[in-house]
């Protein structure tokens, strides 16, 4: 038999003069495509995109604080990093696994250049992560009520983590030619983090990991965060270079330039590590103290209608939203309360660190209302409740101690203007329930609602607003008197009186009607 071969096309040889770096980039493109084709990478990509879409669509994410959002971009890249580390490690080991080492070992692109190509092959994944981070942050920044400032260094952590994972994956493959190396490395890392180091948030070793999530009690001004984000980014850059260059060195790229670069990368890593390990700077601690104890020195006040709104610089854009809530509550109030001049003051308590959840003490100044740094969701009815309590009781301190029949009026004022008052009632109570006794959250101290007060408020909230508003305005003086019983309030507002009202009144009378058990 014979095989007829057609006249072949003209052969193509390597370019002259040789362009070894062009081959490295071509190989990096090839490997990047292979990396993209792995199941884990595809799954993480879909998950990542879906997560961002969910983040963008989610209502709870309205009124974002950008100095928290930037850190929020660092979680998902960890999954991407794991996928990249596993994928690139397998890619480096492919030749060994498939016994093509002997063949490829005599081809023009030397092993150390192939190592460089493998490191570069993760760049598209890094860019994809950077795009995701940018989209996530930009969408948050464009949301209504976005406040604060994002840190470019914090935003860089996610992509740098992916790049670092790629470099570590390559280095591990060059050091330990087994696909079990990466899973074992991750287990050891996890073990070390959980059982050996167990660092606290203030521990310098916390910052040795790529992503450092710190729990804070709430949003704080960006100046008070005290995170060494820039140092950490520098540390990560150094670490990426160090891992990549060590992999090149192990692969045979033992030139003086590579060795010198390893030294440079090590120095960069150490500089970053030392820079980030200093803990919270004394100036930041002092600023936290000052901003907690003398917030008036940092706030600027804006006038909306009758009232004044004093906010920290990054929150001044939200005063209009606060004013809308104050107006809504005052519109339902009767007597002089409807026209009272209030002073809404933003406060924080960062004296004991950012993870301390110490409650803000209620103000004793008449007409002064405290607001925190969070907004949107449950924070809105919580603020409305404290506004209503000040309108009824005169000041926050007195309002927070209400437990008599006036609390019915306070809660109706706070929630009566909501588009879905019953949901707002559920949200503002700590037990997420609309019956029984419970705590009602507020920017300062919570209120205690008895079961009977809850019953009456729930009944009122299900009625047309205008019908209740008329009665509230007409009977304002009696409704806001500490001597008015719950049964009488129910009667004034047209809610059937139950035996529980009488019992509640007798309980209230036993405790003089001016203090509550919490």
């Amino acid at each position: 038999m014979s095989t007829v071969l057609e006249t072949p096309a003209r052969a193509v040889g390597p370019t002259h003069p040789p362009r070894p770096w062009a081959a490295v980039f071509a190989l990096a493109r090839f490997e990047a495509r292979e990396l993209r084709m792995t199941v884990s990478f595809a799954a993480i990509t879909v998950l990542y995109v879906a997560w961002i879409v969910w983040q963008v669509m989610e209502r709870q994410g309205d009124y974002p604080i950008l100095q928290d959002v930037d850190r929020g971009t660092q979680a998902m890249p960890i999954l991407m990093a794991l996928s990249v580390m596993l994928g690139v490690n397998r890619a480096v080991l492919r030749s060994r696994r498939c016994d093509t080492d002997r063949h490829f070992g005599v081809l023009a692109v030397e092993p150390w250049r192939r190592t460089v190509a493998h490191v570069l092959s993760v760049v598209p994944a890094v860019l994809f992560t950077a795009v995701c981070v940018t989209v996530q942050f930009t969408c948050a920044a464009l949301k209504p009520g976005a406040a604060g400032h994002g840190s470019p260094a914090e935003l860089a952590v996610g992509p740098l983590t992916v790049l670092l994972a790629g470099a570590v994956g390559v280095l591990l493959a060059r050091l330990v030619p087994s696909v079990t190396a990466v899973p074992l490395f991750l287990v050891v890392l996890l073990f070390g983090q959980v059982f050996v180091a167990a660092p606290s948030d203030s521990d310098w070793s916390t910052w040795l990991g790529p992503v450092v999530t710190e729990s804070t009690a709430g949003p704080f001004p960006s100046d008070l965060l005290g995170r060494p984000a820039a140092w950490h980014a520098l540390y990560l850059v150094g670490l990426v270079l160090l891992m990549a260059l060590l992999a090149v060195l192990v692969s045979g790229g033992r030139t003086g330039v590579v060795k010198a670069a390893v030294g440079g990368a090590l120095a960069l890593t150490l500089v970053g590590a030392v820079g980030q390990s200093g803990g919270t700077p004394a100036a930041t601690t002092a600023a936290r103290e000052r901003m907690s104890t003398t917030p008036e020195k940092f706030r600027s006040c804006l006038q909306h209608g009758r009232s004044s709104y004093c906010a920290f610089p990054e929150w001044t854009g939200r005063t209009a939203d606060w004013a809308a809530v104050v107006d809504r509550v005052q519109n339902l109030a009767g007597g002089r309360a409807g026209g009272e001049r209030l002073t809404v003051e933003q406060r924080i308590d960062a004296r004991y660190g950012l993870d301390s959840d110490a409650a803000l003490a209620p103000s004793t100044e008449p007409g002064h209302v405290t607001i925190g740094t969070g907004w949107g969701g449950n924070r809105v009815p919580e603020f409305a409740a404290v506004v209503a309590s000040v309108l009824v009781a005169g000041d926050e301190k007195a309002g927070s101690e209400l437990c008599d029949a006036r609390l019915v009026t306070v809660m109706w004022l706070a929630l009566g203007g909501e588009s879905d008052p019953m949901s707002a009632l559920r949200d503002v109570r700590i037990d997420d329930n609309v019956s029984g006794s419970s705590l009602v959250l507020s920017p300062t101290e919570p209120f205690v609602m008895s079961a009977e007060q809850t019953r009456i408020v729930a009944e009122l909230l299900q009625r047309p607003r205008y019908s209740v508003a008329g009665k509230v305005k007409a009977k304002w003086t009696e409704l806001t008197s500490p001597r008015t019983s719950i049964a009488r309030v129910a009667q004034l507002l047209g809610v059937p009186v139950s035996t529980a009202s009488d019992a509640a009144d007798s309980d209230s009378a036993d405790s003089d009607g001016d203090s509550c058990e919490r």
Partner: protein
Amino acid sequence: MSDLLPAPTVSAAGLTLRYGRTAALDDVSLRLGEGVTGLLGPNGAGKTTLLRVLATAVPPDRGAFSVLGHDPGTSAGRQEVRRVLGYLPQTPGFHPDFSAFEFVDYVAILKELTDRTARHREVRRVLDAVALSDVRGRRLKKLSGGMRQRVALAAALVGDPGFLVLDEPTVGLDPEQRMRFRELIARAGEGRTVLLSTHQTEDVAMLCHRVIVMAGGRVRFEGTPAELAARAAGRVWSSTERDPGAWAGWRTGTGSFRNVGDPPEGADLLEPTLEDGYLLTLDGESSEVRAA
């Protein structure tokens, strides 16, 4: 040594390589020119070691060689040799999840074919040359052994290497595939230097214009296939029983014995073949030949 050798493109002098006490290569010198040169020898003769040295996979302990004017003794020279080299190892590995096209493309990149369009055209050309165009998108794990071997040959051919090193490429192939391979190798030998290691004397007879016989790490013969066959002239005879004086002999299909060695007087002499010459060249040093 024959004078018919074209201008040498590959030459080696005094190549020596030892693995412990064993001399895998022992003062090997040779010259190769354009066309296909066969490398014959029993197992352990040092064929694969010689190919690996010439392919720059392992450096020799002693000796020097040059490939197309490049000296692999220096780092830069070794790199230049690799740029003109096509190498098909004895048992080539494959990336099973790659398609035939991807695998050859990958090798092409490692050969520094950097222009994507030109490289893809070249990959299609070599796959076409080994008659695998129809299955170029199929994953290697789905291809037969013969097809995979052709993919490996395509990978060796990609980039138009000036020096092609093929280590027993026809092992494990059925006769049809072997014939196809011979045609491919013959074509590959046009205008380039091909060194073909093989156990098959038929391969050498059909393909090679020159042949080198190795045994015990040394070159025992270097010349044309006809010269190798001529070595057995007057030293091959037929007998009804195995001749104890022959150092190699075997029963043929007709029932008579074909003997190689020093024939007795009056022996029925036979026309020598390449294989006879090869066996005589080994001169009884190979245990395999003795066993025969």
